[in-house]
């Protein structure tokens, strides 16, 4: 994906809010994955925009250890890792359109360790003691 100069500056400005390093673990495969290549292009465009952001590419077929560790079920997938901590945040499919801005927001939130939720929400969420798996289905527009 080519970012326009305007978008590139805007994204760079948003990533300027990063504090701690964030690693995007990108799961891909060479065959039978149409959107893996565009996803790589998007990540390659993103990475140079912050020295706190890194991309860690893994082969979905060959790297079974990482696939299992991150619980990734399909490609392309991006796992957001803050420092050494898996945030539990995943993106499936090429992060274009809505997903792109959600990815930038997730990177910055993970980097500063703040969800941006209200105190009331944070208190409620702290009480959760069983696993919860949230899936949000979106389309690019």
């Amino acid at each position: 994906m080519m970012l326009s100069e305007h978008d590139r500056k805007r994204v760079q400005q948003m990533l300027g809010g990063m504090v701690n390093p964030v690693r995007l673990v990108f799961f891909t495969q060479s065959l039978g994955c149409e959107s893996c290549r565009p996803t790589r292009q998007i990540l390659e465009a993103l990475a140079p925009l912050s020295d706190k952001l890194s991309i860690d590419e893994r082969n979905f077929v060959l790297d079974k250890e990482a696939v299992g560790r991150f619980g990734v079920e399909r490609v392309p997938a991006i796992a957001v890792v803050a420092g050494e901590d898996d945030t539990g945040i995943r993106f499936y499919g090429a992060p274009a359109g809505y997903e792109f801005s959600a990815l930038i927001d997730a990177i910055v939130a993970a980097s500063i360790g703040q969800s941006g939720l209200s105190d009331a929400s944070r208190t409620q969420l702290a009480s959760v003691t069983s696993p919860v798996r949230i899936q949000v289905f979106v389309t690019p527009t």
Binding site: S35, I89, R90, S115, S118, V128, V132, Q135, F137
Partner: protein
């Protein structure tokens, strides 16, 4: 929410790329939120409603206490 509690995971899924998921979760409009493969919410949600549903889903997922 995933940042607030390690037991919570959150996936943003580009639905068009996964026809099998569109079928499995009967997605005919977006955004659609599916929690623990059980509860569903359609359309953008106010934060408080979304959080309440997550907490409720966690409660449902909790193991029921065993009778002595």
């Amino acid at each position: 929410m995933a940042l607030e509690n390690a037991r919570i995971s959150s996936a943003i899924v580009e639905a068009n790329e996964y026809p099998d998921l569109i079928a499995r979760y009967a997605i005919d409009a977006v955004p659609k939120i599916v929690i623990n493969d059980r509860s569903e919410m359609l359309g953008a949600q106010p934060e408080s409603a979304f959080v309440a549903q997550v907490v409720e889903s966690a409660r449902e997922a909790a193991p029921t206490p065993q009778e002595p």
